[in-house]
Point group: C2
Chain length 373, copies 2
């Protein structure tokens, strides 16, 4: 098959869903559709009982097309056009996130009576793909916004936060849970009784090295909730990477192996996929995928790994210490593991004339699909 | 019209082509198709007498579909699959760039007898979108590669280099021209007579501030060639940004204006286009576009400017000192100027469910097209 393509094994994603759902008993799992919106994956997650975190009008459409009940959708993006809020509401979505007065004003008009959840700024220290201050507001402002929501025909349900994607420290949720508990307490004094704590995503997967088990994360969150809340609120979580990443293997071909000079420099290995073809999370070498080649086990040496476009920022790894076999040659297949999340939909429509990354379902999934179709 | 969209005025791009062609009399201009492969633009550039620098099989197809003669194409990407070289050769392309033995070996088999041009490493100091060591080889290696090409049935035509895109220093071409002249001289001593000097692209456009005129660049290059070469070689240039950037205005809507806290922080302005929707060159705030709003002239204050996705790296400008009117509100149209190059094809296929950036041709162009159709 012509490379590059992303081979997705949906059964792995479904198993990951069951694993995280079991680690958080009684807590609904909202799959972050943005991680991988492959329709067959969404259908299987609906069957498994999953809920969905959606970022846009199109993601709502995809979830509903997969059979999701609109009341299992959370419109988690805090940056929504008025007409997209109205669309969501008309489709039956009743749970929305916000972090500003501007967004609440739109929600009050276009989603009256809906449950709204205030996103509070959180530290994402320890995350491989950290979050900036782009989302969330300071707790003092959250207080006023939630009061405004209550006074303007919305249902102030609770608080959400996000500790950053691929968060390697299970203890990182605790400070935000403490902040949320303080907000719950202060608002209860005003007669506003919040009930929902959305602990977001960030649950990591093994790329090159083993991460703590999902049970460790669940226990840390459970303990933090127990210690900071006098009465346990309803919880929800929003994993994306955790469910989808292990389900994908990106298949790519070596296009060229070269050196830049006769000095003792690393070889340059150019693949037929790069940062603009789906590997956007290699920006600043943030996500370091595991690679396999037909020569694994043979002697290796350092390489710079780059994509095929004429753009010089299209370099995957230069400083991360990657080594590949000396026997590697143009035409060799390289597998990039753990690429089921945040890859295919990031791909450019055609930068440098290279087509977007295709998704190919694993044979077993395709057989299921034919049987079901 | 629903935002976001890129409004392209093809007549501006054609005028830019004529401007640069006039500044470099007798030098063929190879438009870098990757900058903007809009079919109508390519048709008009063919009519104007433009040649084309292509990066991939698909870009070759686009140029040929626009009516380009294959002998006016240069396959300038130094990272090519063997089958794509064979495709280019079968289509009549006879000019190829390389910077490694691995690439020459493919060219010798799949494009025998073709003119090949060796890309030499150049400094891109002074460029807003600099090039890394990804492309090019050291001059000592170039010597051996060109000798290898001559001995293996290829036509070693010359040398190419690239000083980095949006290069603000007209003097930056001179060191590479000197390197090239030295290679010409050393190879002439071997009986290999190079004849072609490809000075690449990098010619800048006015984004926020005025850059030196294209005539200044042409004169600096002409003077450097005259001073380093005993006999003037054939020249070629490969502008992309210079031709396409001024032809585009990205139309986007304000989705949200917010603050993160009650501290005296900048406002956050969220647009319906961001880094994954076509503004990839705002990475590290490299390319700083000029913005206009319906409130221009009214009092302004500092802002952080961000895109609509749930990805926190989807921030356009945080440190570049952008100010926007205090009157700016959700729904306001913001025009991003000079966005005709390196935008629409960079856009993701659907990250976060947002559709790719559409290109809309200016009314006059559409009328021409109807008349021609």
């Amino acid at each position: 098959m012509d490379t590059p393509y992303l081979l997705v094994d949906i059964s792995i994603a479904v198993a990951q869903y069951h694993r995280i759902a079991a680690a958080f008993p009684g807590t609904p799992v909202y799959y972050a559709v943005k991680a991988n919106p492959e329709p067959t994956l969404l259908i299987e997650l609906v069957r498994a009982g999953c809920h969905f975190d959606v970022a846009s009008r199109n993601e709502i459409g995809l979830a509903l097309a997969a059979g999701a009940d609109p009341v299992t959708l959370s419109f988690g993006n805090t940056i929504k056009k008025a007409e997209d809020i109205a669309y969501a509401y008309a489709q039956g979505v009743r749970l929305f996130a916000f972090d500003s007065l501007g967004e609440l004003e739109k929600l009050a008009v276009h989603a009256p009576g809906s449950a709204v959840v205030c996103r509070v700024l959180a530290s994402s220290k320890g995350a491989r793909w950290p979050l900036s201050r782009k989302f969330g507001c300071a707790p003092e402002m959250a207080l006023d916004l939630i009061r405004w929501a209550a006074a303007n025909g919305l249902d102030p349900a609770g608080v959400c936060f996000h500790v950053g994607s691929q968060q390697l420290d299970p203890g990182r949720w605790e400070p935000s849970i403490a902040d949320a508990a303080a907000l719950f307490a202060r608002l209860a004094a005003d007669g506003i009784n919040l009930r929902l704590l959305n602990c977001g995503g960030g649950f990591p997967v093994d790329y090159q090295t083993e991460v703590a088990s999902i049970d460790k994360y669940a226990k840390a969150i459970d303990a933090a909730v127990a210690s900071h809340f006098p009465a346990r609120p309803a919880l929800m979580i929003e994993p994306g990477r955790y469910i989808a990443a292990p389900a994908g293997v990106l298949h790519t071909e070596v296009v060229l192996v070269s050196r830049k000079s006769y000095a003792d420099e690393p070889r340059w290995v150019y693949l037929d996929v790069g940062r603009f073809g789906g590997l956007a999370e290699t920006e600043d070498e943030a996500i370091q995928y595991r690679l396999s080649t037909p020569h694994d086990g043979a002697p290796t040496a350092p390489v710079v790994l780059a994509g095929p476009t004429c753009d010089s920022v299209d370099i995957l790894y230069q400083n991360a210490g990657y080594e590949l076999p000396l026997a590697l040659r143009p035409g060799d297949l390289v597998r990039i593991h753990g690429t089921g999340a945040y890859t295919a939909t990031y791909a450019s429509v055609g930068f440098n004339g290279f087509p977007p990354l295709r998704t190919v379902l694993d044979r077993a999934d395709r057989a299921d699909r034919r049987a079901a179709g």
